[in-house]
């Protein structure tokens, strides 16, 4: 019998698809060019021409949010992708090597966790200047450490299972056993963690762009939009609402997708999520 998809998975997937669709649509169409400055139309409230109003340069907020989605997704995808590329092999290696590998991954994790991604990004910015690349590197380092730990823990559990022992007894080498038996069995856990890290990456990118250390103008970023909106809070309060809603809905979608996937892949685990 087919298992019913958890409601959180369906709701999270719908929100995430909406985010991806908005980002993809922005490649083909936005109501106005997102970087087009029209000072005569500055700080306009939402109306028929500009559904979400305009910012202090007269740029269309909806168009900026659409392009901002693309930038957020690009940073998140790069940070999680690089984290997966570095963290998963490291975790698999640690589990296969045993004690020393374990110890090395544990110490590496302790070191990386001492530096919240925002702090690493600030350090990199101080050394190399502001930019999205530093944000990606800082987030990817953090993600790699988290994914290495998660992979190692899950892989160790699979290594202890009889079918892996049987495969080794039949002559499979550790590398082959890792690729054929361990990796497919931990893929679900890794995907769930990667989804949640994607959400964390979106929040951190927004925070760093708010500080002016992330995506650089004129390219729109949700965090930078909030930073700009704060200086015009009195005249145009709604400008401080829309980018925040975009961030919150994206994060909500991705965390619910992660929670839902976990419930679906492992029904014994009952999520404490909202749905």
């Amino acid at each position: 019998m087919r298992r019913k998809l958890p409601l959180s998975l369906r709701f999270g997937a719908a929100l995430t698809l909406l985010l991806v669709a908005m980002a993809l649509l922005s490649l083909l169409w936005t109501p106005y060019p997102a970087e087009q400055v029209r000072v005569v139309a500055r700080l306009r409230p939402p109306d028929a021409d500009h559904w979400l109003g305009t910012d202090h340069f007269g740029r269309d907020v909806l168009s900026m949010i659409m392009v901002g989605a693309r930038n957020s997704l690009a940073v998140g995808a790069a940070a999680v992708g690089l984290g997966l590329l570095a963290g998963v092999p490291l975790g698999l290696l640690a589990a296969a090597l045993g004690r020393w590998g374990d110890e090395a991954v544990a110490r590496l994790g302790d070191l990386v966790f001492a530096f919240p991604a925002v702090l690493t990004a600030i350090l990199l910015t101080a050394a190399l200047g502001a930019g999205a690349i530093n944000v990606v590197v800082a987030l990817a380092l953090f993600n790699a450490a988290v994914l290495a730990r998660v992979t190692r823990g899950a892989a160790l559990a699979v290594w202890r299972r009889p079918f892996v022992g049987a495969a080794l007894a039949l002559g499979r080498g550790p590398l082959s056993a890792t690729l054929v038996h361990v990796l497919p069995n931990i893929a679900g856990i890794v995907v769930v963690q990667a989804t949640i890290l994607f959400a964390v990456a979106i929040v951190n990118e927004a925070a760093l762009s708010y500080l002016g250390l992330g995506i650089q103008p004129p390219s729109p970023s949700w965090g930078k939009m909030l930073g700009d909106a704060q200086t015009h809070l009195f005249n145009s309060p709604l400008q401080a609402v829309f980018p925040g809603v975009a961030i919150a809905l994206s994060v909500m979608g991705l965390t619910m997708l992660g929670d839902g996937l976990r419930d679906w892949l492992d029904p014994r685990h009952r999520s404490s999520g909202v749905l």
Binding site: I122, L123, A127, L211, Q230, A248, V251, S272
Partner: protein
């Protein structure tokens, strides 16, 4: 237990050492001459030479690291280029804002999260549970700096109850200082409380399924007494562990939220130091914040191990 404490202490020392190397190494990535980067292209040659001397740029990297790490161990973080004062002094001043801010947000988040988590567990599957989980989902989705902006919009610009930014200092009394810190602390506390409420709920539900709780119920102990006397104390260990892990996020959040409210704390000092290209301040503050996270995590680990009666083993 002694073996566990020694192992944890050794791991703490290794992590602190690695963190100091990491901070030092990243700042060696500065392209070209760091002194020129800090002072700008119009700097006088003798000023440049003096700064190069102060930073030890004429010495090999290893000597420079050993010198810096030795100074760090003695509490000497160097002299700020912008403020012309020891960084340790600047940090001590700014801690008078950041520490109370962090403590206040920890208190607010814990005070809100424990009853909410308990309520959700006690009303599992019913309205109260759904409301708490809804708050938790919303709380984890909203970045603290956006919450901060919304709080300014509501409580400062609309209701005029709190200042929109700035800090009057502790000299004018505790009341005005706490008044200025309350909104930033609340902004930091909401996401923390959301996570903690979820963890408390799960931990209490797990404990409610254990034998000693069932025995207590069978002996006629009331629902509320079981929750407060049996489930909650046992649930506090996972809650404290998560609270410890959240310290790292709290530090990151404080850096951003202090800037939203222009609070003269460590986060603001760090942010301004980047704009001023004061690498000595950046290096000092980042290494201190990292050490703070490492030490707090170790203390939480040790506290949880002491509180947990089960045998210790493996990696903490």
């Amino acid at each position: 237990m002694l073996a566990f404490l020694l192992r944890r202490l050794a791991s703490l020392i290794v992590t602190v050492w690695l963190a100091s190397i990491a901070v030092f190494a990243v700042l060696q990535l500065v392209p070209g001459d760091p002194a020129l980067l800090m002072l700008g292209v119009n700097a006088q040659p003798d000023t440049l030479a003096a700064l190069r001397g102060q930073m030890g740029l004429d010495q090999p990297v290893l000597t420079r690291y050993l010198h810096w790490a030795g100074d760090l161990a003695r509490g000497d973080l160097g002299v700020s280029l912008t403020y012309a004062r020891p960084v340790a002094e600047l940090v001590a001043e700014r801690l008078a804002v950041t520490l109370p801010l962090a403590l206040l947000s920890l208190i607010l988040s814990t005070v809100a999260a424990l009853p909410l988590g308990l309520l959700a567990a006690a009303r599992r599957g019913r309205g109260g549970d759904w409301a708490v989980l809804g708050f938790a989902q919303l709380g984890v989705s909203m970045p603290s700096f956006w919450i901060a902006i919304l709080l300014i919009l509501l409580f400062s610009l609309t209701l005029h109850w709190f200042p929109a930014g700035g800090f009057p200092g502790w000299g004018g009394g505790v009341g005005p200082a706490l008044h200025a810190l309350l909104l930033p602390a609340l902004a930091l506390a909401v996401p923390e409380a959301a996570i903690l409420a979820r963890v408390t709920r799960t931990a209490v539900l797990d404990t409610l399924g254990e034998d000693h709780v069932r025995t207590a119920r069978a002996k006629g102990v009331g629902r509320m007494a079981v929750l407060l006397r049996h489930a909650l104390p046992n649930a506090l260990i996972p809650v404290a562990t998560v609270l410890g892990l959240q310290i790292s996020f709290l530090v990151a959040g404080a850096v951003v939220v202090e800037n939203v409210f222009t609070l003269p704390g460590l986060g603001r000092l760090l942010y301004q130091a980047i704009g001023q290209r004061d690498l000595i301040v950046v290096q000092g503050v980042v290494v201190l914040l990292a050490l703070f996270v490492v030490v707090v995590n170790a203390l939480v680990d040790i506290a949880c191990a002491l509180a947990d009666p089960r045998p210790k083993g493996g990696e903490s």
